[in-house]
Symmetry: C2
Subunit: 161 residues, 2 copies
């Protein structure tokens, strides 16, 4: 699993350009700065096969003569995450890029493959109603939610049986 899946397995191979284009449009619309560092970080994450840690990103962006500190990467990641261009995988402390829009009530689910280490996405709108009822029962007012499933992705199941 080296891309992201949407819905019933809609693959986005090499979507680096997609997400960068979306970033440009978003920043233009909202009068935000799509700076070089932010672009570099986004391109690096988008080009990666799997999730990247902040220090991985910093290392890949650092060349002799231009060293990128991890703290700068974190700031760029915060910015990109805020815009929904990048997602944080809490159970891995790592980040993936995301080329498609996400709306509320969509039921975003992250799929973490134990075999190839890749991150997929799918949506399960059905779970929103049930989760909403459960939260009502518990008297809990939600603000944000994460759903992460660890297992084996389709590609690895085919490969290894």
């Amino acid at each position: 699993m080296h891309g992201h899946e949407h819905g019933a397995g809609h693959h986005h191979h090499a979507h680096g350009l997609d997400v960068v284009a979306r970033a440009e449009a978003l920043c233009r619309d909202r009068d935000l700065q799509f700076t070089r560092l932010r672009r570099d970080v986004l391109e690096t994450v988008a080009a990666a096969q799997g999730p990247l840690g902040a220090y991985d990103i910093a290392e890949r962006l650092s060349v002799p003569g231009r060293r990128v500190a991890a703290v700068s990467v974190y700031r760029a990641l915060d910015f990109l995450t805020e815009l929904g261009l990048v997602h944080r995988i809490a159970s891995r402390n790592a980040f993936v890029s995301c080329a498609h829009e996400h709306g509320a009530g969509e039921g975003l689910v992250f799929l973490i493959c134990r075999t190839c280490g890749g991150i997929g996405e799918t949506t399960a709108p059905e779970i929103e109603a049930g989760l909403g009822r459960a939260l009502d029962r518990a008297g809990f007012k939600p603000a944000s939610r994460i759903v992460e499933v660890e297992g084996e992705c389709g590609a690895c199941r085919e490969r290894t049986g």
Copy 2:
């Protein structure tokens, strides 16, 4: 929210004894050792109001003359997590104790309160079917899942309006 909620807000105040008793029974059944360190770690987590980090636990267990290293705490937490006596909150890198059994298909959900910092639990069995369908659509074979919701718990909503 300084305990855990189960189902429609079933509270377990001061359940430290419950979970320790359950740990003893589990270890007896499975021929596992419920050592002093493991007991201490479990009691510390159970007695805490909110989630504890591994280093917090190590600090609380360290007294002059007996220093508990974080690495030992991690091993004990791994052991306890494996038995379902302790849960890890991925979005906080912290741990909470859990006095009740969990079965598959139960739809365990962690409720993280932004106001009081407490962790609650509830179950949403309804989401299992929907999530299962979504995973089928994506061709993904699940092994474990985490659902964490951040927001405001019932107690804090009453207190602050």
